[in-house]
Amino acid sequence: MRGPDILRTRRSRWLPGLLVGLAVVGAAGLLSAVSNDPQKWAGSRVSPVHQIPLKDGLNQDIVPTETNPLPFSARFTCAPCHEYDKIKGGWHFNDTSGAPAGRMGEPWIWLDERTGTQIPLSYRSWKGTFNPKDLGLSAWDFTLLFGRHMPGGGAAEPAEADKTPESRWEVSGAIEINCFGCHNASPKQNPSEWAKQVLRENFRWAATAAAGLGEVLGMSSRLKATWDVFDGPNPDDSEWAVAPYIKYDRTLFDSKHKAFLNLSYKPADSNCLACHSAAPKGQAKRDYDDDVHSAAGIKCVDCHRNDVGHAMIRGYEGEGKDNPAAAGADFTCRGCHLGENPEGKPVKAGRLGAPRPAHKGLPKVHFDRLACTVCHSGPMPAKATAGVRTAKANRLGIFGVADWSTDLPAIQQPVYIRDDNKRLTPSRMMWPAYWARLEGNIVKPLKPADITTAAGDILFPENDAVAVLNALFSVPDINGTPVLVLDGRAFEVNADLGLSAVAAEAKSKGVFTPAWALLRDGKVVPMTAEFDPADVEASIEPETRIQNVLATLAAMPAAPGQPAWAYKGVVYKLVDGVFDKSESKDAPAAAPSLFWLKSEKRVPLLAEAKARAIAALNGTEQTLTEAQVEAVLKLLTAKAAAAKETGGEYVYIASGKLFRIGDKGTLIAKDNDAAAPVAWPFAHQVRPARQALGADACTDCHNGASDFFFAKTTPSGPLMTDKAKSRSAVSYMGMTQPFHRLFGLSFLIRPGFKIVLAIAAFVIASILAILFLTMLGRAAGLIEKRR
């Protein structure tokens, strides 16, 4: 059926449907007014079987056998029983609504590896985060960046006023709250499919595809901005710009087109973990222990409960102030285990079988000044804080042919910081990194795209090398993989058109003049065997290879000059396409060297600055060197001067420092509030009690070299720098290092101290006992009798 036909068909059913819908809504409203709360639990502990008609965005029943059916809409499908607008006020969906921010949570992190950007974002007013709107990110931009791990609603379902002109909501549709994302008990629920559909801008189709209700094909992102869902398939293109369409799984539907939806009142942990996973960087999966509660069979939602309004209990102390629906709830550590609700009032402990810990010999100050999670959650403190990857930040849990996960943003844990209750809380920490304009004391972040445009190839040091290596692939009879040899390593082009170091040795450690070679049978070999250019017969074969190489390079689309090859006092080049061999005017090259001849000047195929950047960054999680930062800042400054911009300067913020061009024209690093780290508390994974800090002895924490107090935290991020200043854990705690060194050392003599106290007590008690017995004897007359 063609687009206009679909439109007519739809509209013919649309009006009566709307009227019926209005009538139903009106009746439901009336009913709710009568019964006060239609969603009040009647008492049955059985969840209803969801064999229900699926509704599309027009509140029409979906008929899977119909041509080009629309995707299901949670708003209308779930509406008969669940108030969509009430759910929309829930924690997962209300970040753009101005709801109370509550305790700091994990921000969204805007990552652009190429420009070395990692900016913490949140619509909630959390300390250290930027409101996306302030950075010029529209709801559309935000959804494209983070929709992969968003549950729908919020910014992904913007109000009309928030739909900016450049957005494509009309094509993609909004992302409604994805009820299935959490409540689908079907093993078909696929977060990776969700991410894929979101990245294809198939917003309104994503839930249907991810839930396994049907197969969604086509990509909104390839359609013209004028396309509308009612236009149907794109008649002009059935291969590239294919409009999204659905093939519903017909086995789910009965004869009345009611679909069986395998929904669970309590979401499975795996659905929560799709977005809330976190794991230490570099740890093997088999070494990772579940949270002790999960291991005991407790589900995430057993504690993180919510009512129909989906105001989730986050479980932190003092939550009642931020979330009235959670007021009085006792689902905190103290609530279940110690019998104290978040307001510190007594409640019945032991909920869900929580054991009550004795904490024998643990001074009270620990309860006053530490959150339970300090001792019981997260990784054990080590000599230095460690990297951690989270689902939302590092794009975990999206599986496919490509590796979606990223090393950046760099996040570290555990850092112990005081929360609003003045208690130390284990936290994750990241250092914002971004380019900015410094105006007075105000730091205004710049969009990564603007920097990419302005900086040009400074931020793409490998591009020249990749272009050369790709060209060399097509040299006839090359018989090996072209590689770039640099600083003792060989680099080949990878699938992402970047460079990867290969596991082969190359003898050029510390040499940043690029050499071009071949990887053959796991060994790096020169492109030509050693020969004497003067020996005509012996040089036939190598010179043929040289000619082929030069011809290939000359054919490169963006060749900046004429390729040339120097070797033992001879220069080979192509003159008007003819192979030319001439005496070199320069000193004889010991090793073969390839270069461009540009106005008779030798220009290396890869500039040394770029070579150094490649050598420095390859194999690390960093994406920028200080030299690149300096070059970009100088470029931006020059452009600003040319444009006669005044009243500010360009800076780069990373690793806890503000980088700028100093008076001497070199890069300098300074402290600045804008570079301060952003931290948010975490509560899981909770370790078993026997693995709690202090379970073995006080000296788990209180010793002269305690990892808990003295672990080093070195700011990390996309910039490779030695300017980042390490800090001791104790400084983040707001305490002094000398005191805790001394206090820790005092535990060396504490056993002896206890013995002294015990002896003193014994002596005094003995004498008092003798006194008492003497008095008793005197009272009884025994002593006088004895005398």
């Binding site: 024998k360 643990l362 206090f743 106290l757 015990a758 004498i767």
Partner: protein
Amino acid sequence: MLFAILTVVTLAGLAYLTTHRRYEALAAAPAREGQAPPPKDGYFAWLRRWIRDAVKPDGPRRLWKWFMDWTSRYYPGWMKWVFAVMILCFLYLAASGFFFGVFIPRGMFGFPLVLHVSLGGVFAFCLAFAVFWRARDYAFDKKENEADASERFACPICKNPSKMLVAKILFWTNALAGLVIILSALFSMLPIFPAATQSPLLELHRYAALVSALAMIVFSDVRLFPAKTK
């Protein structure tokens, strides 16, 4: 809060009572040649003068003389240093403990706490030694009942007890309070009692310390620095 109020009221009240009693005794005593005349200008004027005298430049010298006199009688030889350390520790422990207990809601922390705990151990050792060494002298017998009227407190309820009897009671009270202080500190450090008992142990520690301090004030008045009215 209760502890803070009780501490302030009892310490201030007892300090007043003892000094006022001393003032009255001095005021009632006949003037003697070579000594300061009995105070006639009121309690507070006398107290000001008394404090001023105490902090005069020769104060340390007089204190040293008193110390040598006292220890030569009761703590001869090296034992005088045990006594000195005990007194110094007691002063720091009482000062730091009551200051933080009364004025700092969070309680004691940081370096003062480390010093408090460290000196607490030293004090415990010295106290045990003092109790052991002086127990015989402070054992109860019937001699304390033989004191004349000038060596008795005027107390209608307690049948005018002799000062020696009061001193003995105070000595043993101090020993008992010291024992409670030591045990409450020791037990809070041992993995014997659950965390819920930490607060009661701390309260016990504080109240025992208060009793000890009150007893020490009276003991000082009766034994260490008795008023010279004869």
